[in-house]
């Protein structure tokens, strides 16, 4: 499903992706306007991201047009959390007082 949203996203911002997925994880499914409000994105920008995410299989749209997080989307998010933890977890921060 492709939406008419102007220039497509070539390099998505991980922060925005994580916000969208996290919100969808918490709410299960949402309409685009509510999702834009919850993530603090403009509607147009959100639509661009949703377009990109739908192409990657992270989200899909139900019959009423609401955005639903796919299993792949949820797994990708968990993978991202794991990746950051794996790397930042290896850094030993000695307490500086």
């Amino acid at each position: 499903m492709t939406m008419n949203s102007g220039e497509p996203i070539s390099k998505p911002d991980l922060y925005v992706l994580a916000r969208v997925i996290k919100t969808l994880k918490e709410k299960n499914k949402m309409n685009k306007t509510a999702l834009a409000t919850a993530t603090g994105l403009s509607y147009d920008r959100l639509v661009k991201y949703l377009d990109w995410m739908a192409q990657k299989g992270f989200v899909e749209f139900d019959s009423s047009g609401d955005v639903v997080l796919t299993k792949l989307g949820a797994e990708t998010y968990d993978q991202l959390v794991k990746w950051i933890l794996q790397h930042i977890g290896k850094v030993r921060f000695q307490k500086l007082t």
Partner: protein, 222 residues
């Protein structure tokens, strides 16, 4: 491995960076500290010149009649307050460093952690750590020098008092070396602490360099 783990690890990371920021401030605060000490010494010299001139023009003992020990005591007081003001100034500057600004962002959880990592200016952090190491070590040295100066003047006051009462006098070398030894003995804990902190900053630098390298190389594939 949960989002809570990530938040706590990120809190540790950002707290360490905040500490580096505060130590980094030591470099500029140290310059202020040196200026305050030099100003105290200048004030002390000016006071002595004025007293000596008044003595020349109005006769010896005009300013401090009948008390030859009071001038060294006033010298000591000027330096003592100079050092106190300097140390307080440095502390005030360190406490004015804004820390914990990342807490609200990190409250967002994983997205917040990603944002913080994305916005981290690694080169600046590495440079800050290097400056922090230098500032932290130099401030310790400058502080010991200032304490030595104060201790020397205090010792001069005491030796003048002892010379008048029990006729015990010290040669000029003892008047400077004994206070230095005392100051070094009293500062051993501080010196050890500074040595250890510089080592910790060094290892933090290497750890972050490794992380930066991994973070740059990573290509998150969906």
């Amino acid at each position: 491995m949960t989002e809570e783990n990530l938040s706590s690890k990120m809190t540790e990371f950002m707290t360490a960076l905040d500490q580096v920021k505060a130590y980094r401030e030591l470099v500029s605060a140290m310059a202020d500290f040196v200026i305050i000490i030099v100003a105290s010494v200048a004030a002390l010299l000016t006071a002595n010149i004025v007293v000596n001139l008044l003595d020349v023009f109005y006769g010896y003992g005009f300013v401090t009649p009948g008390n030859s020990g009071s001038l060294p005591f006033f010298n000591f007081l000027i330096l003592f307050f100079g050092v106190i003001i300097g140390v307080l100034w440095v502390r005030q500057k360190l406490s004015s460093v804004r820390i914990g600004e990342w807490k609200n962002i990190l409250n967002e959880g994983t997205p917040g952690a990603i944002k913080l990592l994305q916005e981290t200016n690694w080169e600046k952090i590495f440079s800050d750590i290097r400056s922090a190491k230098l500032g932290f070590a130099l401030y310790g040295a400058v502080k010991i020098l200032a304490y030595w100066l104060v201790a020397t003047f205090l010792f001069i006051v005491l030796s003048s008092f002892m010379g008048n009462t029990i006729h015990l006098s010290f040669d000029p070398i003892s008047l400077t070396v004994i206070p230095l030894i005392l100051v070094l003995i009293l500062s051993v804990k501080d010196l050890r602490y500074r040595y250890e902190q510089v080592g910790r900053l060094d290892s933090l630098l290497w750890e972050l360099r490794w992380f930066d390298n991994e973070f740059r190389r990573a290509d998150f594939q969906a």
